[in-house]
Structure formats: structure tokens, C-alpha cells
């Protein structure tokens, strides 16, 4: 069995409209990959049901180092939290290929 390495899974949920911007941020800050899912949701900015054009959310998952995850989270906090529907959370995960994440 291959050894497992600890990394961080950063999950971001935000207005779908922001996806290109947040992804540009991810690239700029050094994330090597991510996974995106269209989602719906409810929060302080009300119900975002994705029923039409600008009304859905997207969920971005990034597996990376703890350090990078916190850097990204802090950046998102500063840049977007005050004006946009957005949440994020971090979790510890194990991966097989430490060099990849």
C-alpha cells in the first residue's frame, strides 16, 4: 500500500458569476488544479436556486497545501466576502501523490 500524505481540501461556494474571477485568483495564487460543480444554496444572501441566468452558485474544490489553502481563503475573504454570496471551509485530507497537490 502506498503511503498517504496530508493535504488540505479547500471548498469554496460562491455566486456562479464569480467563477472565472475566482479561478483566475486560484491560478495566480498557485493552485495546480480544482474541481467545479454547479450547485444551489441558501445563506445570508437568501436563496440562490440557480433557476436562471445569474442566480446559481458554484462549488470549487481545491486540494493543496495547508499553507496555500489558508492563503487562498484569506484572499477570498478580503476581496469578495463583503459584497458577494460566498462561503468557504477547509478540511484535512490524505493523498497518494504529494508532489501533485
Amino acid at each position: 500500500m502506498s503511503p498517504l500524505h496530508t493535504r488540505c481540501l479547500l471548498t469554496i461556494v460562491c455566486e456562479a458569476l464569480l467563477e472565472p474571477r475566482v479561478e483566475a485568483d486560484l491560478t495566480r495564487l498557485g493552485a495546480q488544479g480544482w474541481t467545479a460543480t454547479p450547485v444551489r444554496g441558501r445563506g445570508d444572501h437568501g436563496s440562490r436556486e440557480g433557476h436562471w441566468e445569474n442566480d446559481g452558485n458554484v462549488r470549487l474544490e481545491v486540494v493543496c497545501s495547508h499553507e496555500l489553502a489558508e492563503r487562498i481563503a484569506t484572499h477570498l475573504h478580503e476581496r469578495y466576502y463583503s459584497n458577494y454570496a460566498m462561503v468557504c471551509w477547509l478540511a484535512e485530507v490524505k493523498v497518494l501523490r504529494p508532489e501533485k497537490f
Binding site: 458569476l17 433557476h51 436562471w52 445569474n54 463583503s82 459584497n83 458577494y84
Partner: protein, 312 residues
């Protein structure tokens, strides 16, 4: 005369929405409907543009763009002064009402067609021309020239946005190919148009219903504005149309465009350019009130005035 049946579809959607019934078409289907509407309008306009294009049209275009700049400039002080809205909200709403709603345009065209009232068939061009100027004015009103906004990025957003591109692309294809070559495409882009519009309006009814809730939180001013401002800007549209020598049908369309408020392109642009403007306020007004008002009462009214003016 009888109500245009597409309006019943809107009413049905509105009632179903108010009853909180789940009649929603899936997102991809809604997208496909609006895609088809925009492209169809563009194609038809393009065919006619190639047929009737003239130097006169250039003048008309400039004047129409001018109206697109003027209207948000007029709306802004009203929203700031009477409505006591903050700078961003006022600018955002001004941009919404200075721009146009393609759905409202489509209903107006359908309304005229079902009454046999002719109009200059190339007016789809004006829809494209009116989309963007008000957005730029809105951003300038809120942030001024010196702002740190990334205008290159914004420009992409505006001119490569879905509705500008589909209308514009449709216009271009229509003009290049011409009506005869496009005839085999008519079952999808022409014959189906009104059915597609009906389905689209059903959805818009559902969406509008969901927007009426937030309205209550925003007080009376915005309700009054959402109904009275279209009357004023329709007046501007009627005058301009008359000055430009449009037919009564054409004047009706221009008035409808002036009176209509964007609920697709502008909200998206404002969300990026003026993030601290409240999107639910402007959408509640444009989609929850002005859109229904225009398709139920506005269009017949504007047509009435346009015809009286034309007849005199």
C-alpha cells in the same frame, strides 16, 4: 381586441409562481429558449437590415444610442433625489432602465403582428445598440472616470456577452445569408418563434413571481418608480421615434425599448462592476414590476399614443 395569448402564458407562470408551484423548466431548457429567441430576433433583423439598410439608418442608430445614454442620466438624479438611494444602487437601477429587455421587445413585435400593424422590420438592430451604453453610463455614474475598474475586462464582458453576441451574430448571419437562403431554417427560427416566446414567458412569470417578495422590503418609492418611469421613458421613445420618421409600429417598438428594463445583461454586469449595489432591488423592480407592467399594459398604451401621433 383580445389579449395576445403569449401574455396568458406569462400570467399562468406568475400565478403558479405566487402559489409556489414547481413549474420550473430546468435551467438548460430556459437557456436554450432564450438562446433561440435572441438568435431568431437577430436573424430576422439581419435579413431586413440587408434589404432596407440605408444611410438614414445610420442617423437613426446614432440617435438611438444617444437615447441609451440620456435615459440613465435622467433616471439617476431621480433615484438619488426622490428615492434617496445610495450612489451605487441609483446608478445600477439607472443602467437597468436605460438598457433594454429582449423579452419585452419580442412581446411588442408579437403584439403588433397579431394586430397587423406594420413596423420597420430592422428594429432588432436597436435592441443591440441599446444594450450596452446605459451600462457604461451607470458604471461612470457610480465610480467616475478615475476608478480602478478594469475596463478591458469590462469591455469583454459587455460586448462579448451572450445577448449582444447572439443578437449581433444573428444580425450578421441574417444580413450575409439573406432571406431566401435562410428559408429552410424558418421552421426553427421563424415558425417556432411565438411558441418559444410563450414558453419563455411562462418561465419569466415564475421568475417574476419570485422577485415580488423582495419588493416589499424596498418600500413604496421603487414600486412607483418601476411603473411611472417606463411611462416617462416611453414618452421619450415616442418623441424620438416620431422625430426619426418611424412608422407608428416602429414608434411603438422604440417606446417599448425605452420603457423596458434589462434583467439579464445589466444585472450580470452590475454585479461585477458595482458589487455593492443591491441586485435584488434592481431585479425586483425591472423583473417583478416593469416587465409585467410593460407587457400587460404598457405596450397597448404606447401603441395607442404612437398611432395618435402618427395619425395627426
Amino acid at each position: 381586441m383580445a389579449i395576445d395569448p403569449v401574455v396568458y402564458f406569462f400570467g399562468f407562470g406568475l400565478i403558479a409562481g405566487l402559489l409556489r408551484a414547481d413549474l420550473r423548466l430546468p435551467g438548460p431548457v430556459y437557456d436554450a429558449l432564450s438562446f433561440l429567441l435572441l438568435l431568431s430576433i437577430g436573424l430576422k433583423g439581419g435579413v431586413e437590415l440587408a434589404r432596407h439598410g440605408s444611410s438614414e439608418l445610420l442617423l437613426q442608430s446614432v440617435a438611438v444610442v444617444g437615447m441609451g445614454v440620456l435615459l440613465p442620466l435622467l433616471a439617476f438624479p431621480v433615484l438619488r433625489g426622490l428615492g434617496r438611494l445610495d450612489r451605487s444602487d441609483a446608478a445600477s437601477i439607472a443602467a437597468h432602465y436605460g438598457s433594454v429587455s429582449v423579452g419585452t421587445f419580442a412581446v411588442a413585435v408579437s403584439w403588433l403582428a397579431s394586430r397587423g400593424i406594420a413596423h420597420e422590420p430592422y428594429l432588432a438592430l436597436f435592441v443591440v445598440l441599446l444594450e450596452v451604453p446605459a451600462i457604461i453610463v451607470g458604471i461612470l455614474l457610480a465610480r467616475g472616470w478615475q476608478s480602478d475598474l478594469d475596463w478591458r475586462d469590462m469591455g469583454r464582458e459587455l460586448f462579448l456577452g451572450r445577448s449582444v453576441l447572439l443578437l449581433g451574430g444573428g444580425l450578421m448571419i441574417g444580413a450575409l445569408a439573406g432571406g431566401e437562403a435562410l428559408a429552410p431554417l424558418e421552421p426553427v427560427f421563424v415558425d417556432a418563434f411565438k411558441g418559444v416566446l410563450a414558453l419563455f414567458l411562462l418561465e419569466m412569470g415564475l421568475i417574476a413571481a419570485a422577485r415580488l417578495g423582495p419588493l416589499r422590503q424596498h418600500g413604496l418609492f421603487i414600486v412607483v418608480f418601476a411603473v411611472l418611469w417606463p411611462l416617462f421613458s416611453a414618452g421619450v421613445g415616442i418623441l424620438l421615434g416620431h422625430l426619426l420618421g418611424l412608422s407608428p409600429g416602429g414608434v411603438t417598438i422604440l417606446a417599448t425599448l425605452a420603457a423596458s428594463a434589462s434583467y439579464i445583461a445589466v444585472p450580470a454586469a452590475m454585479r461585477i462592476a458595482l458589487p455593492n449595489a443591491n441586485p435584488s432591488l434592481s431585479l425586483a423592480a425591472s423583473l417583478g414590476l416593469t416587465f409585467p407592467f410593460n407587457i400587460l399594459f404598457g405596450i397597448p398604451l404606447y401603441a395607442e399614443f404612437a398611432q395618435r401621433l402618427g395619425g395627426s
